[in-house]
């Protein structure tokens, strides 16, 4: 896969500054702050309802913060910011694909939304990146869950985003498909992309991460560098964090 574009020197590629998001009386994201440089991978763990997906939607510019802001290369991200959106790719457990369109048609559709004129070469390249050339003309409805998720990776990376946001990307995948996705995601780091992944899967999340955070009831209650943490330590910290706020 092609490498991400170089970020502006000295500035974090992605920055959350005291982000808050309320849904009526419920606070889903509570003063979350962090910053990530080029090629850094942050894994965010947390129980159901911790506010992880809301955090990711704030980072994607799909949700308006109640307070605080997201900055992309130092520039505040606003909802509807077209230029910033073009620098962000999102991969979720939902594929964002249309089942009655073929793999190729889906990618061409998203390519047109990005205004690309080189779809005849870009789409086959992306399909080849995820090993789906032979499924190019198969309707998405006929593909297995793992294959659809690989196609969703191609969709998310179609526009060579600098920042990739992953929302529970392993949901519904069997062990084989999960391992294949893990391989694809590790390629993101090597390509210099800045990645935020929210997941329940401690093992997978830790394997890829440079930094980890545990989010409970909206706020980051634990943060650590990957180098300072092993799987047992993470599990212990996770249990303590979740039980401590229960």
């Amino acid at each position: 896969m092609p490498a991400a574009a170089a970020p502006r020197a000295g500035l974090p590629v992605l920055e959350a500054a005291s982000l808050v998001r309320d849904y009526g009386p419920v606070r889903a994201v509570d003063h979350v702050s962090f910053h990530l440089g080029a090629g850094e991978f942050l894994s965010v763990f947390g129980p159901n309802g911790a506010g992880k997906t809301s955090l990711l939607r704030l980072l994607a510019g799909g949700l308006r913060p109640t307070a605080g802001e997201v900055r992309v290369s130092g520039i505040p991200l606003t909802v509807g910011d077209r230029a910033a959106r073009a620098r962000i790719g999102i991969l979720s457990h939902l594929s964002f694909l249309y089942g009655r369109l073929t793999a190729r048609e889906n990618l061409r559709f998203y390519g047109r939304l990005h205004g690309f004129g080189d779809l005849d070469s870009r789409v086959p390249d992306r399909l080849a990146d995820v090993g789906l050339e032979r499924y190019a003309d198969s309707p998405v409805d006929t593909l297995s869950r793992g294959t659809v998720q690989r196609l969703a990776v191609a969709r998310a990376l179609l526009h060579d985003p600098e920042i990739v946001l992953l929302d529970e990307p392993y949901t519904g995948l069997d062990a084989y498909a999960g391992a294949m996705l893990q391989e694809l995601l590790s390629g993101l780091k090597e390509g210099g992309r800045t990645v935020v992944m929210v997941t329940h899967n401690l093992g997978r999340g830790l394997e890829l991460a440079d930094r980890v955070a545990i989010q409970v009831r909206g706020s980051f209650v634990f943060e650590a560098e990957r180098a300072d943490l092993d799987a047992v330590g993470l599990e212990r910290s996770y249990r303590r964090a979740v039980e401590g706020r229960a």
Partner: protein
């Protein structure tokens, strides 16, 4: 601007391609249109009632109900696999998404109008007047206004649990100008009245359509943004 139009065209093309493949909305709209015409064919004693007098009202009623049935599902295809998030987080301006949905709905409702006109001609032998171009103009402008309002409210109702049940309740009061001026203008064309007698209603329909499109373009963002 070119990129913007290409983005709008991409969504329209995708919507119509999905409609061709699934036929979900067209089949429901077409079936309702033909069914209403058949029902009236048997329900009305054409020896007692002069059908030509009812023509405009029957046709507009069929178009409104048939159109609403299909447009209520405008955002259904986007809910599958979270595709709406794919659209909302893409670089397409939100007003571009709205306009694309208006265009694809306009195409579908226009097809239903052709079916309705053909069905009523077949069952009742309606005379559609001497000026088919003017008829096309009135139907086109009124349909655009109808679609502009309904598409916006389809986006609102798609976010509620009541969904399509809510749509007619929200929308009917707002469609009163389309109904009044659309039926008036269409009736006069069917009666082969002079163009001057149609112009007033046509201008009012055009004004309604411009206001509806402008309001929809501005307000869509507040409907889908959280």
């Amino acid at each position: 601007m070119t990129v913007y139009l290409r983005q709008v065209a991409a969504i329209v093309r995708k919507d119509l391609l999905l409609e061709v493949r699934t036929g979900e909305r067209l089949a429901a709209m077409g079936a309702l249109t033909v069914l209403v015409a058949v029902l009236f064919h048997f329900a009305i004693d054409q020896g007692l009632v002069r059908m030509q007098v009812l023509a405009a009202g029957l046709i507009w009623m069929t178009i409104l109900f048939g159109g609403m049935l299909g447009m209520g599902r405008t955002f259904e295809m986007e809910r599958e696999q979270g595709a709406i998030q794919g659209l909302l987080t893409s670089p397409v301006p939100l007003d571009g998404i709205y306009l694309a949905k208006v265009v694809s709905n306009f195409v579908l409702v226009t097809l239903i109008e052709v079916v309705a006109l053909a069905a009523y001609w077949l069952f009742f032998g309606f005379n559609y007047g001497n000026d088919l171009l003017l008829l096309a103009g009135v139907l086109g402008v009124a349909t655009l206004g109808f679609v502009a309002v309904t598409t916006l409210f389809a986006a609102i109702s798609a976010q509620t649990n009541m969904g399509q049940t809510l749509l007619p309740i929200l929308i009917f009061p707002l469609l009163v100008p389309v109904v009044i001026f659309g039926v008036t203008a269409t009736g006069r064309i069917f009666a082969s009245r002079p163009v001057q007698e149609v112009e007033g209603s046509l201008y009012l329909l055009a004004a309604f359509t411009v206001v509806a499109l402008t309001a929809g373009t501005i307000l869509f963002r507040y409907v889908v943004e959280e």
